[in-house]
């Protein structure tokens, strides 16, 4: 049943990358519990515009949990208090009437704030550009059953491939480590024959880029897995470690 609640929002406002930011507090009334968190943010922005104030800048695109854009740290959790969802999939029914909701941008040295809640997640793109692909030699289409792949490997690769590159892992990590993302991207290819060929070079190139961009050292706390909207398992991190160490040892 639809209900509406009143909330107090503590939102991080920052005019630009180099400017010092601060929290602003806004009261927002009559928020439908059926609305999504982003719809609530839209409602806040309409209110701000009608008051001739500058609307809050935040990233979003698909609004259905597949693009990974909606980076918001809500009440101490990336993508909010609900599990296995993105911010755009978070509903206002998760909040109580009168609740104060704190909204912050991802905090990580490698994800600098552009404005308000929008951060530059380009570091993840750079890691992909360093090796997160397969160099395909085009030719005739091979027979679908020519290369056998076990169900276990196919499933693991698919689980890893569910990563949407949202950045919640690095945002949640006390070490600012991007290992869950890199592990997912290395695993999805290393587990399949097409990607296996370049496995060693890929692991080295992507880890080198990750380190260069200033992400931290993983100490296996597991906060990333707990906050990942796609529930990517830290067992992929073990695979990444294995891939990387074996590649370095065989150099």
């Amino acid at each position: 049943m639809e209900k509406s609640i009143n909330v107090t929002l503590k939102v991080w406002r920052q005019a630009g990358p180099k400017v010092k930011g601060a929290f602003e507090t806004y009261k927002l009334n009559n928020v439908s519990t059926d609305s999504s968190f982003l719809e609530m943010m839209d409602q806040l922005n309409e209110q701000l515009i009608s008051e001739r104030k500058e609307p809050v800048v935040f990233d979003h695109d698909c609004r259905e949990g597949i693009c990974g854009m909606c980076s918001m740290f809500i009440n101490g959790h990336p993508h909010g208090p609900d599990g296995e969802i993105t911010t755009c999939q978070l509903h206002m029914r998760m909040f109580k009437d009168g609740e104060t909701i704190t909204v912050e941008p991802w905090r990580s040295a490698a994800f600098p704030v552009i404005k308000d809640l929008m951060v530059d997640r380009g570091a993840y793109d750079k890691i992909i550009q360093a090796g997160g692909y397969v160099n395909v030699n085009t030719g005739g289409v091979p027979d679908a059953n020519a290369i056998p792949i076990s169900k276990i490997d196919a499933d693991e690769a698919m689980d890893a491939a569910s990563c949407i590159g949202c950045g919640a892992c690095a945002a949640a990590c006390k070490n600012g480590s991007a290992m869950l993302f890199v592990a997912a991207k290395v695993s999805q290819l290393a587990l399949l024959p097409q990607g296996r060929v370049e496995g060693a070079a890929r692991a080295k190139a992507m880890v080198a880029k990750m380190d260069e961009l200033g992400f931290g050292n993983c100490t296996n706390t597991g906060a990333c897995e707990a906050e990942c909207p796609k529930n990517v398992s830290i067992s992929h991190i073990a695979r990444l470690n294995r891939e990387f160490i074996c590649a370095k040892l065989s150099d």
């Binding site: 990580s108 949640a172 070490n175 600012g176 073990a238 160490i245 370095k248």
Partner: protein
């Protein structure tokens, strides 16, 4: 050098030195247990591991293991602080499944280190060091380990201090052992819960063996039973 320049390389050094220290603890705790079973037997071990070349070599390698582990611990922690960024979260939630130990490896390591210094003074200085230098540091012959143990643990405060130390070490190990396996890549989806359980079992066995000694003296068995 990838063991210094890459994050996974640095973690590998942490894990190898960590596992080496765990193996040492296992060896050390098995030797210690002997003091309860037979003080004479324990003194025989102390005599064997006195100022011989192999005991000195072992001690040097062990010290190197500690030093490398600790230097890397601080280096990694510093880098991780920088990676986190200048601004901290105003509200930081906790996650289910993230152990307290995993978030406090440095403070736990600090407690371990502090007590380690005390421990070296209590025993190593009065035993191997005294034997090496020939100076008189304790009330007994350097090889009379059982006498040093009895003397120290007749003080209830020392028993309590050692127990606190061992609790910190237990926490460090519960995360450390499985983390080391994960870091070296010896883990997967099926083994993840098993590796964590193995880690808890090994930590508990090692710590109980160590703790048996102050407990044994604390309940007053040192003198009579």
């Amino acid at each position: 050098m990838w063991l210094i320049n890459s994050s996974i390389g640095r973690k590998l050094v942490m894990s190898i030195t960590g596992v080496f220290l765990v193996l040492f603890l296992l060896f050390h705790s098995i030797m210690n247990i002997v003091v309860i079973i037979s003080p004479e037997g324990y003194n025989a071990i102390c005599a064997t591991l006195g100022a011989n070349w192999y005991a000195i070599a072992g001690t040097s390698v062990l010290a190197a293991g500690f030093v490398i582990h600790i230097i890397y611990a601080f280096y990694l922690t510093y880098q991780n602080k920088v990676a986190r960024g200048a601004e901290a979260y105003a509200v930081a939630g906790t996650q289910e499944g993230v152990s307290w130990a995993s978030k406090n490896m440095v403070p736990l390591g600090g407690v371990i280190l502090g007590f380690l210094v005390l421990h070296m003074y209590n025993f190593w200085f009065k035993m191997q060091f005294a034997e090496l230098t020939g100076i008189h540091t304790g009330s007994f012959d350097p090889a009379n380990g059982a006498a040093f143990v009895t003397e120290l643990f007749s003080n209830k405060l020392y028993c309590a201090l050692y127990i606190v130390w061992l609790v910190a070490l237990w926490f460090h190990l519960t995360h450390g052992i499985w983390s080391a396996l994960q870091t070296t890549g010896l883990n997967n989806k099926v083994w993840l819960p098993r590796v964590k359980t193995i880690s808890n079992i090994i930590s508990t066995i090692v710590i109980l063996m160590f703790m048996a000694i102050p407990l044994y003296f604390l309940i007053g068995c040192g003198a009579s039973c």
